[in-house]
Amino acid sequence: MNLAAIAQLAQLDLTPAEAEAMQRDLQAILDYIAQLQQIETSGVEPMAQALVADTPLRADTVQPWFSAEEALANAPAQRDGMFEVPKILG
């Protein structure tokens, strides 16, 4: 496993010490997971979730919900009713 590439995809920074321990642990887990390769699965439809009986859609109507202010209440930084983040352009 190319841990650095995976960490990049996962948006995680790992210190060299963290990376070393992580590589070991993940390899052990992957070695364990390899047993799945021994199981015959040709023609088996993949199961993404337990089949839930009858899940009707709801009408697409506007319902009262929490306000923009409430949504911003936990913002680490906000300006003019928007979430503020470090500049990425210019």
Partner: protein
């Protein structure tokens, strides 16, 4: 006191909801120092709710089914206006602007939410040792783990610091702590209880369910929270039966499947096997029939789980990036500042187990590995589900020990992640198949509680609760 006893006492004015709430909060103040079941208390909210129940009682109005019952809520479930941390530093000061549906329904039924309980970070763990806020201790043996990830909820109920609690279960996180702490834990059918407001870990595996002191109390909590929710597209429009009335349904003649792969498993401690066999013997004397069955792919369940759950987690936890809520790292200004902010926020905010699972999940979904890992695991999931369907043609319930061993010591398994994962071997299959399951206390091993698990076909929680209710009457006092 049971839920019904509390409600009756308040209705008949022998007790007040306010008095009971104060008593509970007092008990927590003096008793939770060692156990550390709770992360946040919500005194004002609890007392306001209690006052509402007392006002109803004073007017002689009918009381809702959970009136005045002190309940604890696992900290992965959103509570409006009350800090919700998910056991993580990344949400240390996050205050949700809405309630989880299960919480709202509990309160609509009159329950008094006294606080938020400790859990493994983002529900990832089997011991509550992965909480960023320190572990919870097992009230039955303070040097032992309470189990996880709903360890705080289980400990609160076991220690009398709540009458009932909400927990969540993705790979066993309601049933395993219930077994370790000697209480009842119910995993409802996938879709039975709304997941709205539950911080998602693995969306096809997460479930909300009750922890309680008895089958009857678990039934009353389930009654309040079950049912279709328009806010959760995976919640089922299946009618909710009367679980409490259903407790008295007869259990004679029920066929209980005993999977040979489970009972032959080398990892089961002798004391656990003995306690579970004794429970089955009691049920046999009461008229149930034991039938040997086979679940041939059971041993693959952990591998399947750690591919699918981590894959889903890697997607669900992408939202924790420091932008809208929670922790935000402050990197140096420059072209990479935003990217650095994401990565540093996550590096600082997440613990090792969460990172491990995100990385594993990212890997099994990545180009070139998706078919070999993710798709393969989904196919084996289908086979596991078929094994259960086949078994349920011959039996009405399936029995296993809830866990291979009783509660282990704090620190005993935290060095080896894989060893800890293997402790979930008997609980994970029901999550993968979306089937309901219950853990019941059935005796002791090495002086510690042992849990026996029963699994039922989809939406047959009533059958599980009835069996549990009957078994409670047969079981010798522990």
């Amino acid at each position: 006191m049971t839920i019904e006893q509390i409600r009756t006492a308040i209705a008949e004015r022998h007790a007040t909801a306010t008095g009971l709430a104060e008593q509970c909060l007092q008990k927590i103040a003096s008793g939770d120092g060692e156990v550390h079941a709770y992360l946040t208390l919500c005194r004002e909210r609890a007392l306001a709710q209690a006052a509402r129940m007392d006002a109803l009682a004073e007017r002689g109005d009918p009381l809702p089914p959970l009136a005045g019952v002190p309940v604890a809520v696992k900290d992965v479930l959103s509570t409006r206006g009350v800090r919700t941390t998910c056991g993580s530093r990344i949400l240390e000061s996050y205050v949700p602007p809405f309630d989880a549906t299960a919480v709202a329904r509990l309160e609509a039924a009159g329950a008094v939410v006294v606080g938020k309980t400790n859990c493994d970070e983002f529900a990832m763990g089997s011991s509550t040792e992965n909480s960023a806020y320190g572990p919870t201790r097992n009230p039955r043996a303070l040097d032992r783990v309470p189990g996880g990830s709903s360890g705080g909820s289980a400990a609160a109920v076991a220690a009398g610091l709540a009458v009932a609690a909400l927990g969540t279960d993705t790979g066993g996180s309601i049933r395993q702590p219930a077994a370790f702490c000697g209480i009842v834990g119910l995993l409802p059918t996938y879709g039975r209880v709304s997941r709205f407001g539950l911080a998602a870990f693995a969306s096809s595996l997460d479930h909300v369910g009750p922890l309680a002191n008895s089958a009857e109390d678990a039934a009353r909590v389930l009654q309040a929270i079950a049912g279709r929710d328009p806010l959760d597209a995976t919640s089922a429009a299946v009618a909710v039966p009367d679980y409490v009335a259903g407790l008295e349904q007869p259990v004679q003649g029920l066929r209980i499947g005993v999977p040979k792969e489970v009972f032959g498993h080398p990892g089961i401690a002798p004391g656990v096997a003995a306690a579970v066999r004794a429970a089955l013997a009691a049920l046999e004397r009461a008229g149930c029939r034991m039938v040997e069955i086979s679940l041939p792919r059971n041993d693959a369940a952990i591998a399947v789980y750690y591919v699918l759950a981590t894959a889903e987690a890697s997607s669900n936890l992408a939202r924790y990036d420091g932008v809208r809520y929670g922790l935000r790292a402050r990197p140096a200004a420059g072209a990479d500042a935003l990217a650095d902010m994401y990565r540093q926020t996550r590096d600082q905010g997440f613990g090792a187990e969460v990172k491990r699972r995100i990385l594993l999940g990212t890997y099994v979904l990545s180009a070139g590995y998706y078919d070999a890992y993710y798709r393969k695991a989904q196919q084996v999931r289908a086979l596991l589900s078929q094994d259960f369907q086949r078994a349920f043609q011959a039996v009405d319930l399936i029995c296993t020990p809830t866990t291979p061993t009783p509660a282990f010591k704090l620190g005993e398994k935290s060095a080896n992640p894989l060893e800890l994962y293997l402790a979930d071997i008997f609980t994970v299959p029901a999550d993968l198949a979306g089937l309901p399951a219950i853990s019941l206390p059935c005796g002791r091993a090495e002086g510690l509680p042992v849990g026996v698990q029963f699994i039922a076909p989809a939406f047959e929680e009533g059958r599980l609760l009835a069996l549990a209710h009957h078994y409670e009457r047969l079981r010798p006092a522990t």
